[in-house]
């Protein structure tokens, strides 16, 4: 086994489903272990609703804290915000806003891509 680069794409809005939390759980799983895999979690489409300031992250806070500790990046696609009329200042500080073009570079660099 060797270090891998993983991209996890979060497509679905939080609550009423397991995806928003299962994706983060998978991300934490990939960061753990001796290989020290490089993980990025990317929020696109309706998935970006998870990154709003006011979202209840009681059930995911520990995943996020672990990912931050492991230096995993959590990014939000700028165009998805724009398409939904959401201001960048409405996004919680844990998340980094990037343009779609940059997201594509994550896709290109990733050894594998998972979607949730």
């Amino acid at each position: 086994m060797a270090q891998k680069t993983a991209l996890i794409i979060m497509n679905q809005a939080p609550f009423g489903n397991i995806y928003y939390t299962e994706g983060l759980r998978a991300a934490v799983g990939i960061t753990s272990g001796v290989d020290e895999n490089i993980v990025t979690v990317a929020y696109v489409g309706d998935g970006i609703y998870f990154t709003l300031h006011g979202v209840d992250r009681k059930d995911t806070g520990r995943y996020i804290a672990t990912l931050q500790k492991q230096k995993a990046r959590m990014v939000v696609e700028r165009e998805s915000l724009k398409e939904r009329g959401i201001k960048e200042r409405d996004i919680a500080t844990e998340f980094e806003i990037i343009p779609r073009k940059e997201l594509l570079t994550f896709v290109q660099k990733a050894d594998f891509v998972l979607d949730f």
């Binding site: 794409i9 497509n11 489409g45 998935g47 594509l104 896709v107 990733a110 891509v113």
Partner: protein, 89 residues
């Protein structure tokens, strides 16, 4: 090796927007993804495959654009094995 975007309807548009910027993209429309209008890719370098079984079941065979290629499951498996899968299905 191409980036193979597997596209279903629910959040397939997220994938198509990325694929649009990706010079190395190929697209497979699968399940309800066959309902998505992908004419934006006609005349582009992006190859679009459509899963034949999903099109036939929905009675859409005559509506598939001539630039799109109908594929069976064997070919789909080959594509998945040969390329990097970016799943939106």
């Amino acid at each position: 090796m191409a980036n193979l975007y597997l596209i279903n309807k629910v959040y397939g548009e997220n994938g198509l927007k990325l694929a649009r910027l990706d010079a190395n993209a190929q697209i497979v429309l699968i399940q309800d993804g066959v309902y998505i209008d992908v004419r934006r890719f006609v005349g582009s370098k992006v190859k679009v495959y459509v899963v034949r079984n999903d099109v036939e079941k929905r009675g859409l065979v005559d509506r598939v654009h001539e630039d799109m290629e109908l594929i069976d499951y064997d070919r789909l498996v080959d594509l998945i094995v040969q390329n990097k899968v970016i799943n939106f299905a």
